[in-house]
């Protein structure tokens, strides 16, 4: 297996140019929304709004302004599949369409997916959705086809500010840690890494440098695996079955016994 590869996204240098979105769409031949008709959000410069089956990169525009718009700031973040080491989507997929590649990335095989949408419910980050053209669940593949030929993913290649960096996870973590220290020394004490260590789902192979709480960027502060509920939910269901069984027995068995005693059986 090749060394684990991934993305490190430094949100402090993102300028919201959306070159990553365009590069991703072009390389992966993803269709336009609404057949190319303009679909403006109406309340933000962010017209993509969310990751889905035809948007595998999404530049989030977090617009924090006061009521009178006298003060404000923009937080920009190019969001993408996190390629979790413990991947919820891969765990629940009932067709084995979702696989882990030799680069430790998570890829949906479109020819195996039957569009059941279980992975959509499982992803803690809301990354996956159905691509209406293929009728299958789709998301970022970390440009698996490019990686196999030694190329860099399209989005990081196109990023003009190096906000999206591609490399081996160990190298990226080192770079990211240095950047956090640099920002702290420069006075930006809020800078921290999201998902860079094993505590979050075994580590996110696509992790982020943030300067505000995760939820401000639309990221869950405490993402979990869906199977956390499997044992407890199964046990309670079994308990329900036992209770119903007992109620049934009490209501029918006595009658049967009585009938037998009366010599009717």
């Amino acid at each position: 297996m090749a060394e684990p590869m991934g993305f490190y996204t430094d949100t402090t240098v993102c300028i919201g140019c959306k070159a990553c979105e365009v590069a991703c769409k072009e390389w992966n031949q993803l269709p336009a929304t609404n057949g190319g008709l303009n679909t403006l959000s109406g309340d933000s410069y962010d017209n993509t709004r969310r990751l889905d089956g035809i948007h595998w990169r999404h530049v989030k525009f977090v617009e924090q302004f006061t009521e009178d718009r006298g003060e404000g700031r923009w937080l920009l973040m190019s969001d993408v599949c996190k390629h979790c080491v413990q991947a919820a989507c891969l765990e629940v997929c009932p067709t084995n369409a979702i696989i882990r590649t030799e680069f430790d990335t998570v890829v949906i095989q479109s020819d195996a997916c039957n569009g059941c949408r279980d992975c959509i419910t499982a992803c803690p980050f809301g990354v996956i959705d159905i691509n209406p053209v293929s009728g299958t669940a789709q998301k970022c593949t970390l440009c698996y086809d490019r990686l196999q030929t030694g190329m860099e993913p399209a989005c990081s290649k196109a990023c003009p500010t190096d906000s999206i960096q591609f490399g081996t996870i160990s190298d990226l973590r080192g770079r990211a840690q240095k950047r956090v220290e640099q920002l702290h020394q420069g006075g930006e004490k809020r800078a921290y890494l999201y998902g860079a260590d094993e505590k979050m789902l075994g580590g996110l192979n696509s992790f982020f440098l943030l300067v505000d709480k995760p939820e401000v960027y639309g990221l869950p502060p405490d993402p979990k695996m869906p199977t956390r509920n499997l044992s407890s939910a199964s046990l309670f269901s079994a308990l329900g079955a036992v209770l119903v069984g007992l109620i049934g027995l009490f209501n029918f068995r006595n009658r049967g016994v009585r009938a037998r005693e009366e010599g009717r059986l």
Partner: protein, 301 residues
């Protein structure tokens, strides 16, 4: 968390709509009716036998319908078999930790048992003149084994859908471990209700109908307790019900589907002989609304 009650709020809805609501309803009826049929088959009086047959006769068409609903709901229905056979290797596709994978197998196996019991019920009632089919039901040993194993799978089919919802990351569904339990209990209550309704429609008068009704009232009381426990177990996510779906759950399930039937049964003098029919109809409607509120309410968050 900026007022957001759970990390589950950052997920995307899967667009599970009416087909899934109907599947949960008919899947519950399939499993529940089979279980009740087995119960009456093993412990009922001889004169209750038509009720047991009725349970088997309802169960199989409901399983068949469940399979069709699930297949149609896929975005690529022609690939439904990928749930059972891995398309790349043609090896059996089985993941015991994925309720959807396990549920697909359970539905298939339960479908087979349900079909065998369906044949035996047809033969038993004289509508199918086939000696082999008669041996597929009680009192024979083979029939007993089929019914017993089928009953266990019936329970599984009735309840796994709730476990499936719990093993996601969606708000409401995955914020409590009690949905599977609620669905199992509700499956029993709606199945008893449907059997009572059909028995009344056929003008049957066997004493098993009263047993079914009495059992249903106990199950409804249990369902009420588990529903309250489910809502409490949601913790801060409970406020997700402060919506139209919360109102639907309160009026459609708690009032119409649980409390009114229990009240009618308690004050039988109010409706007299129509008590059974009226409460059964309300229980059936309430059971459908329960699944609708859980699925569509969870989708809407």
């Amino acid at each position: 968390m900026n007022g957001i009650p759970s990390s589950t709020y950052f997920t995307a809805p899967p667009d599970w709509g009416w087909l899934i609501v109907f599947y949960f309803f008919f899947g519950g009826l399939a499993g529940g009716c089979y279980f009740l049929a087995v119960l009456i088959d093993f412990f009922g009086r001889p004169e209750d036998r038509p009720l047991a047959r009725l349970g088997y006769l309802i169960s199989f068409p409901c399983v068949l319908l469940s399979g069709i609903l699930l297949t149609v709901d896929l975005h690529r229905p022609e690939r439904f078999w990928h749930m059972l056979i891995e398309s790349n290797t043609f090896q059996p596709m089985f993941k015991y930790w994925s309720p959807m994978s396990l549920g697909s197998w359970a539905l298939l196996i339960f479908g087979i048992f349900s079909f065998l019991s369906f044949l035996s019920a047809l033969a038993d009632s004289g509508r199918l003149n086939w000696a082999v089919a008669r041996r597929l039901g009680r009192p024979g040993t083979i029939g007993g084994i089929i019914s017993f194993i089928g009953g266990l799978f019936g329970f599984y089919v009735a309840g796994y859908t709730g476990v499936l919802l719990a093993v996601t990351n969606r708000p409401i569904w995955s914020d409590s471990p009690l949905l599977g339990m609620l669905f199992v209990i509700s499956a029993a209550s709606i199945s008893a209700a449907l059997m009572i309704l059909l028995a009344e429609r056929n003008h049957w008068t066997m004493p098993g109908i009263a047993d079914l009704h009495r059992m249903d009232m106990w199950v409804l009381a249990l369902e009420f307790i588990v529903l309250v426990a489910f809502l409490i177990s949601l913790g801060p996510v409970f406020r997700a019900w402060f919506s139209v779906w919360g109102l639907v759950l309160l009026l459609g399930v708690v009032v119409l589907g649980l409390l009114v039937p229990i009240f009618l049964s308690w004050r039988r003098d109010r409706l007299g002989i129509r008590t059974y029919t009226a409460s059964a109809a309300l229980v059936l409607i309430g059971g459908f609304i329960l699944r609708m509120a859980i699925v569509l309410g969870g989708e809407a968050v």
